[in-house]
């Protein structure tokens, strides 16, 4: 691997200046758990490396007005330990805890998970289900983009070579709202998702679904929302029957999307079970506070 220059800026402005100067020649490194392997395999030429792991301002998790903002340099370990995310956002903690191993969670960042856009990225489905916005900075502007619009293809995102993802934000969850996550891997630790599903749910006081957002990983070229299934649940009561029918619709969606792939037969059956567990967790996380009706 040929690396000509390395930088370790302490402030975001400094990192942006370097990006602007080196453009395509530069690669951002944070946890390095994907980049170092691909550089060593010769897949990713990276003459200039900019390490953003010492920039404190992109490692914070804050509540600002009606938003939760998470810095792109936050590690998965930071997420699992964030008191502010316990309860309604348990789906985010479960997703972070399911990534890799302790060593990988200590290094790997949510910004890397998003920008590398692996089809199996565990943190993308829960952020999609929360309808997250990304904050992207360059020398001349700060822009916001929906995560859903940012993901373009397997490993491809709408990020220019002079831009850096600094934060992810989503609306705070209130009474009756919760996020659930479930993952199917081939083993407990260090498992790459075969399927991972996140469900955001808002229920009314009479236990009907006001709104649902479902996002899946490893069932397409990148993390995807399942809007046909979401539409079915809107306004319906969450009963064993409706959950069974909704799961059936998801099976049909996945079946048509994965047609021709060897994994289709297995995944279309498995997705129903993975979704049902994620939804059950979302229902539980909606009502985590004592005294809440739901």
């Amino acid at each position: 691997m040929e690396i000509k220059e390395v930088f370790k800026p302490k402030a975001i402005e400094e990192a942006i200046k370097l990006l602007d100067h080196y453009q395509e020649a530069s690669k951002i490194i944070a946890g390095g758990t994907d980049l170092i392997i691909s550089i060593r395999e010769g897949k990713e030429p990276a003459p200039v490396i900019i390490d953003v792991s010492s920039i404190g301002e992109i490692k914070e998790i804050n509540e600002i007005d009606e938003w939760i903002e998470i810095g792109a340099g936050t590690t998965f370990t930071n997420i699992t330990e964030a008191a502010i995310l316990q309860g309604r956002y348990q789906g985010l903690i479960d997703a972070a805890a399911s990534v890799g191993s302790p060593q990988i969670r200590n290094a790997a960042t949510i910004g890397g998970n998003i920008c590398n856009a692996s089809p199996a990225a565990d943190f993308i489905p829960p952020l999609l289900a929360l309808d997250s916005l990304l904050i992207i900075q360059s020398t001349d502007q700060i822009r916001e983009v929906k995560l859903e619009d940012f993901l373009r293809d397997k490993g491809k995102v709408a990020l220019s070579s002079n831009e850096i993802l600094t934060k992810v934000k989503f609306k705070k969850l209130n009474k009756g709202q919760g996020l659930g996550f479930n993952k199917l891997g081939l083993r407990k630790a260090l498992a790459i998702s075969r399927i991972c599903t996140a469900v955001y749910l808002e229920v009314s006081e009479d236990s009907k679904c006001n709104e649902m957002r479902i996002a899946n990983g490893s069932l397409g070229r990148y993390g995807l929302r399942e809007k046909a299934v979401e539409d079915y649940f809107k306004g319906r009561a969450l009963t064993d029957d409706t959950i069974r029918i909704g799961g059936g619709l998801l099976k049909d969606e996945v079946n048509s999307r994965l047609q021709g792939r060897s994994s289709a037969e297995f995944k279309r059956e498995a997705v129903d079970g993975v979704f049902t567990v994620a939804l059950t967790k979302a229902i539980e996380n909606c009502s985590h506070r004592k005294g809440d009706l739901i």
Binding site: M1, E2, I3, K4, E5, V6, K8, I29, G31, G32, T33, I36, I37, I39, R40, I49, D51, S53, S54, T77, G100, S101, P102, Q103, I104, N106, A107, K188, A189, L190
Partner: protein, 160 residues
């Protein structure tokens, strides 16, 4: 070449490194701290585990320049002269070591766990070492050893 300074096992180092060097290569090839092992080289096996600024990382997935200004603990930093660290003693007492290749990483993962959680459950111990593969022992003896190390560390704390 690039100059960096870092603290390893309590000692200050000012070193010149190649820009494409990994922390693992710096430790083993340049500083001859060969207790840290290279297994898979891609973050699956945990043989190269070191403690960096208080948390475990795979040193095969950290570039050496990223460690500038940080504090590293390797397996060489655990014993005190002739006296083994209580975790090392527990591994020997429980017969948790067979070929030994995974053990430096395993001991450091155990240390990071016990520093954070002095009395872990067996499930928490298994989670704590879930990033370290051992192909000899079947893990049971290692879990026993970490359980015993937790007692040793408590006894040591009481003596002080």
């Amino acid at each position: 070449m690039k100059k960096i300074s870092l603290k390893i096992n309590g000692k200050e180092y000012n070193v010149e490194i190649e820009k494409d060097m990994r922390l693992l290569d710096l430790l083993r090839d340049q500083l001859h701290l060969t207790g840290t092992k290279e297994g898979c080289g891609e973050g699956e096996c945990g043989a190269c585990t070191v403690i960096m600024d208080g948390v475990t990382v795979n040193s095969c997935m950290v570039l050496a320049f990223q460690a500038d200004g940080s504090e590293i603990i390797t397996i060489e930093g655990l014993d005190k002269g002739d006296k083994l660290h209580p975790i090392q003693k527990a591994f020997l007492d429980e017969g948790a070591v067979q070929c030994g290749f995974c053990i430096p990483g395993m001991v450091l993962s155990a240390k990071a766990l016990l520093d954070k959680k002095p009395s872990p459950s067996r499930k928490e111990i298994r989670e704590g070492i879930s990033g370290n593969l051992c192909r000899c022992t079947g893990y049971n003896k290692i879990v026993d050893a970490i359980d015993k190390a937790s007692q040793y560390l408590k006894e040591e704390g009481e003596e002080k």
